[in-house]
Amino acid sequence: MHAESLPAGKAAALKAFEGMAAEPGVPKPDPILVVDNVVRRFGGLTAVNVNHVEIQRGSITALIGPNGAGKTTFFNQLTGFDTADEGQWTFNGRNMNGVSAYKVARQGMVRTFQLTKALSKLTVIENMRLGAQSQKGENFFRGLIPGLWRGQEDEITAKAEDLLQRFKLDAKRDDFAGSLSGGQRKLLEMARALMGDPQLVMLDEPMAGVNPALTQSLLGHVKNLRELGMSVLFVEHDMDMVRDISDWVIVMAQGEVIAEGPPDSVMSDERVVDAYLGAHHDAPLSAEEEERQLHEAEAELDKESTE
């Protein structure tokens, strides 16, 4: 792949990460989100214990880890859907701990959910309109006088139709969201999140339950967010997807950030392998290692037979 063929956003993100140390908590040149000492306990279990992590602005950062690593819990802390027991984090330099979920969203940090939350008894276009911020008619008294919000509603609708077209949902405009397929709901949820012009889009397992035919289109949309100047942080299990679209990968295990690095190299990091397979695994790490173990075993056998 040639450097000049990369889209501008991707190139900029890669440049930012160039030569960065692949260490947990490494400082980034222009972080949009900085997290310090976030702890969340459920009884005796420490679900999240993140010392320090920074998310680079304008990049796509993946958050991976084995099941139960605390990724979704960490997501919930950051977006105000759950309260952290300790710690603080800043978004665009503003302190966000203890800020309620709706205020987090208003500040430009919008999330989606692992189990898609399309509002199924609302039509697709109503779902989209709901994503818009500061619609005046969302006040009860102003809502009673259509003249006060009609104009704004028309603008919102135009914007929504534009987004629906981009996400190829325009044919479904007036259908109930409940009639969409799983993948289309994911698309709708993402499109709806964009109605609020977020700066940081947080996607919780965007590929879960999506039919493979839609995966490519969804990937394209995520990449496009970066080109539009947004930052993306996503949780994902599908490693092919992580390798394909992310600029930087953060690995969590047992509530802690254990490694960070570029997608190509982070998966061979010893700590990551340990986390996924267990520290005392017997499986060979690479072809050379496998060969070496084989030689050792053969040598031992030879020794025994000569004795």
Partner: protein
């Protein structure tokens, strides 16, 4: 059998003060349960507050009637806030538990012996509706379409004010539910976390729904008190709330006309069946039950009808089949 009497009673009930009271109670529930998904099982408490506010202000303290109306509305708002602040952040069923208890608290307070000087104990209060009937523009006489409908001038005044309140409340809700405000409510009914993630203050919207529904319920309480010129605490037991839910589901939740038509139909059918059976027993057409048993059998038939309705038409009369079928998927 006197069919004229049966039809006359049924039609009068369908447009009478009962229909108004239950329509208002159900309109309030419609805002809370139908549109927002809040399970308020204490609507009877809001009606009690409305009714007793007028009665106590006028009969006990001798203050002006309209001050009582104002106090009733204010207390309904306060009651909604009091219930909502601790419970609306919790799961929906907590609100159901707290509201049913709160309504019972209101009833038990107003019927208590210790406070009977203020609230009149189990006998309730009378003689507070003079100022209301002084405003009656209808001269004494019989009104209606003989031989089916006939109301005296006092009933006419209650019906006029009552149906006007129903119309005003419904019109306001019609405008509100069409607006982006209504859209947020409907979205909260579906999934409040999704709405929160889109930057809406879910708590505030749920509180608004609780307050608006409670205030509309208290309007029903005003009509309840004025139509009878008396209040008794046991009229505001939990039955009232469950009848109001019945009315709402019969008409179709989350529809503007649902509670109105539901209430009219509910009372029409209830009285039609009741009077019909009484007449049949009296004329000897039905011999295996006595007149005293009619009341209980009538309620059984209503229950049966409701079960059939929920099984075969759960969306009620005006509901949208599509909205239901998506959930059942």
């Amino acid at each position: 059998m006197d069919w004229t009497l049966i039809f006359s009673r049924a039609v009068e009930a369908g447009i009478g003060s009962e229909a108004i009271i239950y329509a208002l109670a159900a309109i309030g529930l419609n805002v809370q349960f139908g549109y927002t998904g809040l399970l308020n099982f204490g609507q009877a408490g809001f009606l009690a507050i409305g009714a007793y506010a007028i009665a106590v202000t006028v009969a006990t303290f001798g203050l002006p009637f309209f001050l009582g109306v104002g106090i009733g509305l204010l207390l309904a708002v306060l009651m909604a806030l009091l219930l909502g602040i601790p419970t609306l952040r919790l799961r929906a069923d907590y609100l159901a538990i707290v509201t049913i208890a709160a309504a019972e608290i209101v009833r038990l307070v107003v019927r208590s012996v210790a406070l009977s000087d203020t609230f009149g104990g189990t006998d309730g209060l009378q003689a507070f509706s003079g100022a209301f009937y002084d405003l009656n523009p209808y001269p004494p006489g019989e009104y209606g379409i003989p031989p089916i409908i006939g109301f005296d001038n006092r009933s006419m005044w209650v019906l006029t004010v009552g149906w006007a309140l129903v119309a005003i409340a419904s019109f306001i809700l019609f405008m509100a539910m069409k607006s982006p405000w209504g859209r947020v409510l409907k979205a909260i009914r579906e999934d409040e976390d999704a709405v929160r993630s889109l930057g809406k203050n879910v708590f505030s919207y749920k509180m608004q729904a609780l307050v608006i529904g409670g205030v509309i319920g208290s309007l029903g309480g005003f009509i309840f008190a004025l139509s009878r010129s008396a209040v008794q605490p046991d009229l505001f037991s939990t039955d009232l709330t469950f009848y109001a839910y019945t009315v709402l589901i019969l008409g179709g939740a989350a529809r503007i006309l649902g509670p109105i038509v539901g209430s009219m139909l509910f009372w029409l059918l209830l009285i039609f069946i009741g009077t019909g059976m009484e007449e049949a027993v009296n004329s000897g057409a039905i011999t295996f039950i006595t007149v005293n048993q009619v009341g209980a059998i009538r309620l059984m038939l209503v229950g049966l009808g409701l079960m059939l309705l929920l099984i075969y038409r759960p969306q009620g009369i005006f509901g949208d089949k599509r909205e239901i079928s998506i959930d059942a998927r």
